[in-house]
Symmetry: D2
Subunit: 117 residues, 4 copies
């Protein structure tokens, strides 16, 4: 398999955990809990903003957003490594399923059809 | 900027939303809400499993896990695109900060130091 | 201690779990995971709505919202029972702390002071 | 309707928001986001603990748990007030549905039947 950004992150996270004897903490349940917590910390930045404010973050907010998004990505990659899921393949497969589930012609302009993608 | 997996996903998600006239739904607040919801849907698969069960998922569980992890990655990439955060750079910067914050020699074997990485 | 609505719910949830031999699933970690998942399921109902739609839920949406809010309350009460936290006392103590932390005269009309309550 | 603990909390939260001119922040979407964030903050306390540690919280952890549980309850009550859902009635209705959905005789001792309650 060619080296990818995700596999590079996973290797570095694995070495990071090994070097600190932290692998014992990285059970699937613990990692998924940490992932949800990081997503919520990202959400916290936005919770009291109105849409205009959320679309015009200042430099300090942007730095916090970047850091929390990084945390989400790192835990997601670490969890995928621990449970041996190919995240890249899973994402491409999901894009494909979404394209089949929501044909552009059928759903365009129809808010009623909107649920998720 | 060289094309990366994340930028490829972001392009496809952008085109997907444009083709369906769904960009109006993809405000930062809405996307961060969807991201947290997907993380929780991933968590739901693990919530009643004990650690042994969580470490030995069957094929059906693995497929669900892969799909929910994909959803988290897709919303994370989409949000990063909308708020114009470079997710790849943010992840590398966070790895660097973690390495400085948790020097391996200082924290090895010390559960008390463990909080996050 | 006088019987309260919360203690009544807790008694019924305890008997419910005992009658089904489900107490083994109700560890603090599992219950807190379930609580977060239920909060996210509630959130899911609102994620693609704009503020006007969110303030004018139809009957079907209201029923779903009521059920998810009930799930959050039930898991919260169950968790409090399992970890032996007096939820009623905790809530009153927090109201008191909030009143001290955010004096009305100091924060009125100042969005900048707003973070949480 | 007789005054209940929940309605008492709701009255105090309403007055609290009014006195600070914070009602404008308390849209359903914002409140549900805050609720999920508080649930995740509660979860964060437990995420790296093993089950033994989670069942034997020390005094400092218990205080944090109590405060985060209080936050969840306060936002839940505030949201119910804003969207005009009777939380007490919703909880009782859900208990009733659970009793019908999971008859004790049918599910006892059967982990396979376990999903949620």
């Amino acid at each position: 398999m060619p080296e990818t950004f995700i596999s590079t992150l996973q290797l570095r996270l694995r070495e990071f955990a090994q070097a600190r004897d932290w692998e014992k903490f990285h059970s699937p349940k613990n990692l998924v809990m940490a992932l949800t917590v990081e997503a919520a910390e990202l959400q916290e930045i936005f919770q009291w903003l109105n849409e205009s404010q959320a679309a015009a973050l200042d430099a300090i907010q942007r730095e916090r957003v970047a850091e929390e998004m990084a945390d989400v990505l790192l835990y997601l990659c670490r969890l995928a490594d621990v449970v041996k899921i190919d995240l890249q393949q899973a994402a491409l497969a999901k894009l494909q399923r979404n394209a089949e589930k929501y044909p552009a012609d059928a759903v365009r302009g129809s808010a009623a059809k909107y649920s998720d993608y």
